[in-house]
């Protein structure tokens, strides 16, 4: 047996008995997670990578050198400024929503590195925490030099420090999943559902698109991050497997909840990118096709293998998949000054592609884009406000995203009255998740509650400033309406 294999587990799989404290004190249920099981129940915990710290450092060092070389070669302003403007919005959206969320994941992983119930789990979580620190630093470093060229890149760091509605929604998800979860919920929600279930959309789908548009920096960054994620995401499966044996109802509940919440997140971050912001020639497949290939199939087989049912909101997810992100994008396009990235108006060719990819739902969305297009035509290029809303929008009290669920003909918002407060939810799954754990969510104040309490302005322009945006940073149409297809007699 090679020396490495002989010695690896001596350090990696090293648990001991406590003589001066009870096991329950060392691993309190509130932090280690429910159900609380004695150490011997976790003794067979393992994951396939079995990295040592020395191997980890050596591998990461090589990856860092490689990424640094790419960043120096193709990450300068003169390189990035040549990229398609729609694609640059993909970069701005992606880079702002992920790095500081990754930093929260450092904390989640460190909690598991202390309170996970097996030493190998704790060791892998420690490496996971180092991974997530790296995933925070890479984008911050790569985007930093671009700020002097385009102020919107500053939002790579700024978003989660702001009260922008996307930040409010992002924090609501991230605070609960990464900062507020015990080690078991973190492992299932983050590693099994979010990372194993969904991040292939980014790492495979968006990487392919980055390659097509010639953004080598983004492509290499995602690939470099993906190899880390593939390792630490393995924590989820053995934790879920144990939970299925000991408390299958809780296992199912956690999968149900985090599947729905993760889908909402990716519908924005990846849905916008794949179906609208990426130029048509670089799209390999639609968001729906990617989800069907990389989430639906994989999730079904993983759950079946573990003896779990499909997530409770599976049907609602399948119904939302071909429409939810379209509703949200059209809404956000007409409130683009409330974000830090620019939006693409889909023209006739893009809409023909979307109609082909979404034959059941696009007919209800086409009139919305036709209306926006006609208003651009009436106002002329440069007149952003004529295709921009001025009335405050409504947000879901669970996901904190705009009430965009359902269809244009039937918005699925639901209302619930509790003593002293009315709550509104974009959909039944969001309502159910809220009502299952009201103590977690009831006190949160979203954008509308802040406006009604006088903490945020109701006037949209003032609200945009409250979000932390300025004229130099707020979102616009990528070409301010200068599309050939909008010109009288212009080519489609």
């Amino acid at each position: 047996m090679p020396l490495r294999d002989e010695w690896c587990d001596l350090a990696r799989k090293l648990d001991w008995s406590f003589s001066y404290a009870e096991e329950r004190q060392v691993f309190p249920e509130a932090l280690s997670g429910s159900p609380w099981l004695p150490a011997q129940e976790w003794r067979d915990w393992d994951e396939p990578f079995r990295s040592t710290y020395a191997e980890y450092v050596s591998t990461q060092q090589r990856k860092e050198v490689s990424f640094q070389a790419i960043a120096e070669a193709v990450g300068r302003i003169e390189d990035v400024s040549k990229l398609d403007p729609g694609w640059l919005s993909v970069v701005k959206l992606h880079m702002a929503t992920l790095p500081l969320a990754e930093f929260a994941a450092v904390i989640g992983n460190l909690r598991a590195a202390r309170f996970g119930r097996d030493s190998a789990w704790r060791m892998t979580s420690l490496l996971g925490a180092l991974d997530e620190l790296r995933h925070t630093q890479l984008p911050l470093r790569a985007m930093h030099d671009l700020v002097r060229w385009d102020e919107q890149f500053e939002w790579t760091h700024r978003l989660f420090h702001s009260d922008d509605w996307v930040a409010v929604a992002g924090r609501h998800l991230v605070d609960e999943l990464l900062l507020g979860s015990d080690a078991i919920e973190f492992a299932i929600g983050t590693h099994f559902v979010f990372e194993t279930g969904f991040t292939n959309l980014q790492f495979i789908g968006l990487t392919a698109m980055a390659k097509q548009v010639g953004d080598r920096l983004f492509e290499q960054m995602l690939q470099s991050i993906q190899t880390d994620e593939a390792r630490h995401a393995q924590i989820g499966h053995p934790v879920l497997k144990k939970l299925v044996q000991k408390d299958p109802a809780r296992a199912q509940r956690l999968v149900d909840k985090w599947f729905w919440r993760s889908f909402r997140f990716f519908a924005v971050v990846t849905g916008f990118a794949m179906d609208y912001l990426t130029p048509l020639h670089a799209r390999r497949a639609s968001f729906k096709e990617f989800v069907e290939e990389w989430v639906v199939d994989q999730f079904q087989s993983s759950l079946s293998e573990l003896g779990l049912a499909l997530p409770k909101y599976w049907q609602a997810f399948l119904e939302a998949l071909p429409i939810y992100h379209h509703m949200l994008y059209a809404s956000a396009y007409t409130y683009r000054a409330t974000t830090w990235f620019d939006f693409v108006l889909p023209g006739p060719k893009e809409r023909a592609w979307l109609a082909e990819k979404y034959p059941q739902t696009w007919p209800e969305l086409e009139p919305v884009w036709h209306n926006i297009e006609e208003r651009w035509r009436a106002a002329g290029p440069g007149v952003e406000w004529f295709t921009h809303g001025t009335t405050p929008v409504a947000f879901c009290n669970l996901c904190q995203l705009v009430l965009c669920a359902g269809t244009p003909c039937r918005n699925s918002a639901v209302f619930v009255d509790k003593p002293g407060r009315r709550y509104v939810f974009c959909s039944e799954p969001c309502r159910e998740l809220f009502e299952a754990e009201p103590e977690r969510y009831a006190a949160h104040r979203g954008v509308v509650e802040r406006i009604l309490a006088g903490q945020a302005p109701a006037n949209l322009l003032e609200l945009v400033r409250y979000f932390g945006l300025s004229e130099a940073s707020w979102g616009r149409d990528v070409v301010s309406g200068h599309y050939d297809f909008l010109k009288r007699g212009g080519q489609p």
Partner: protein, 80 residues
Amino acid sequence: MPLYCFVRGDTLGLVVLADEAESIDELALRLARAAAPRVTLAAPLRVWHRGRVLEGELTLGQAGLSALDRVDLTQEDDLG
């Protein structure tokens, strides 16, 4: 009075601050304007509240609307 508003054909819900003394017809026009970047409705318009159409001449107070109620706006020929 803040109201949650949904305009038929639109992609999102809006929050409109309305006056209890304004009429349902005035509210309808306001909602139509608020959604205009995305959807154009042809008059006459209908305002729905708890499954019934509200009379256009009534004030919001007379129509029984309360803060944070849901109202829906449709064209007259829409069945709701």
